[in-house]
Structures are given as C-alpha cells and as structure tokens.
Amino acid sequence: MSARVQTEPFDLAAELQGFGAGSGAVVTFTGLVRDDSGQMQGLEIEHYPGMTEAALEEYGNEAARRFELDGWLIIHRHGPLKVGEPIMMVATAARHRKSAFEAAEFLMDWLKSRAPFWKREIGPDCTGGWVAAKDSDEDALTRW
C-alpha cells in the first residue's frame, strides 16, 4: 500500500517480492518510453512535488476501498528517461482477477489525466515539445 515518485529506475521483480501474499490475483502494469517517430531520444518528466505523492496515495487508497484490494503499489519516475526505459508501474492484489484488473485500470486511468506529471519529448537535437493530453484519456475516466 504505497506510492513512490523517484528519478531512479525500478526493478519490477524486487518491487513484487512478497507483494500479494495471501491474495489470489496480482496484476501489474508497466509503462515504457516508446519511440513512435524513430526520432525521439527519450522523455523528460516534470511533476509537482508534494501534490504528486499526495495524489498517488489518494488514488491508491480509493482503489483499495472500491475494489477491496489486499495490496497496491504505484511507482512513477520523473526526470530524463531514455527510449525503452520504464516510466511507471502499478500493481494490485485482490482475491479474484476481476477486482485486480479493474483496480489496475482504474489507477492507470486516474494517473493518466489526474496525477500532476507532464511529459516532454526529447528529439534528436535535444529539443522537443510537451506531450498533449489525449481526449481518450480524459474520456476513460468517465467509466469509473
């Protein structure tokens, strides 16, 4: 039951040691830096220190309550990230698969458009623009 914001990479395996003990179902989501254009060096992620941690904690607790989770974990990185590196992960543990899946999707939908992170693409000349929010991400929230 914890949320972390960090610049360092994380090790999914190490994070999941003992996670979900006593549960029947563990779901994880990992987001990776993807280069669609073939021109991107990576991402720079800015966040709002203080508010970020509180928001992640709040969404995690909300998911635990709604989906009766045995455990949850959110890790989100900030700073410069290279193509292929993990950006963030969520893990959820519940008695049954349906709750674990739903809770992970709920957390992802909230993180995408309600957690104070902003992504900037780093191009080949080290310049690049801020990633625009997607309407589909905003729409995804309406189902919860």
Binding site: A54, M88, R114, A115, P116, F117, K119, W130, D137
Partner: protein, 83 residues
C-alpha cells in the same frame, strides 16, 4: 493575502520562472488569473487559452471558479500527461 503561485510545464516556460509570491485580493482563481495575465506579456501568453490551463489550490485540483479564501499555494499547469 500572500500567495505562492507555481507554474509547471509550458506555463513555467512561458512565464520564465517556476514560482513567484503574489500579494492579491483576488476572490477566485479566475480573478487571480486576470491579475496575473495583466502583469506582462509573458504572463499574458501563459494564460491566453484557459481551456488548456488546469489549477490546483493547496495541492488539490479545483475548477477555475473556486474561491481563494484561506489559500496559500496556487499552481497552474497544462492538462496532465502521467502514466
């Protein structure tokens, strides 16, 4: 009232600084935006299209018409792109 006003992402870049301390009597976030936008061209540019600006008061997301009474920290930023 004295407010710490924070800027993130392209709002920070347009305004040229991550935070500033503002003395204001603004009743709502929207009133504060009007004051800030009137300060100079950089602030005006940052607040030119409020459809793309989000706001947090004391680290909670709020609508632009929210009151400022009792607030200490107000942050402006584009729609979030986490995950």
């Amino acid at each position: 009232m004295v407010l710490d006003v924070l800027y993130f992402a392209w709002l920070r870049e347009r305004i040229g600084q991550p935070r500033e301390r503002i003395e204001t009597e603004a009743a709502t976030v929207r009133d504060l935006v009007a004051e800030l936008a009137a300060m100079d061209d950089w602030h005006a540019a940052a607040f030119a299209d409020m459809a793309t600006v989000r706001c947090a008061v004391d680290q909670k997301l709020v609508p632009l018409d929210s009151p400022l009474a009792g607030a200490r920290e107000v942050a402006f930023f584009p729609p979030m792109t986490g995950g």
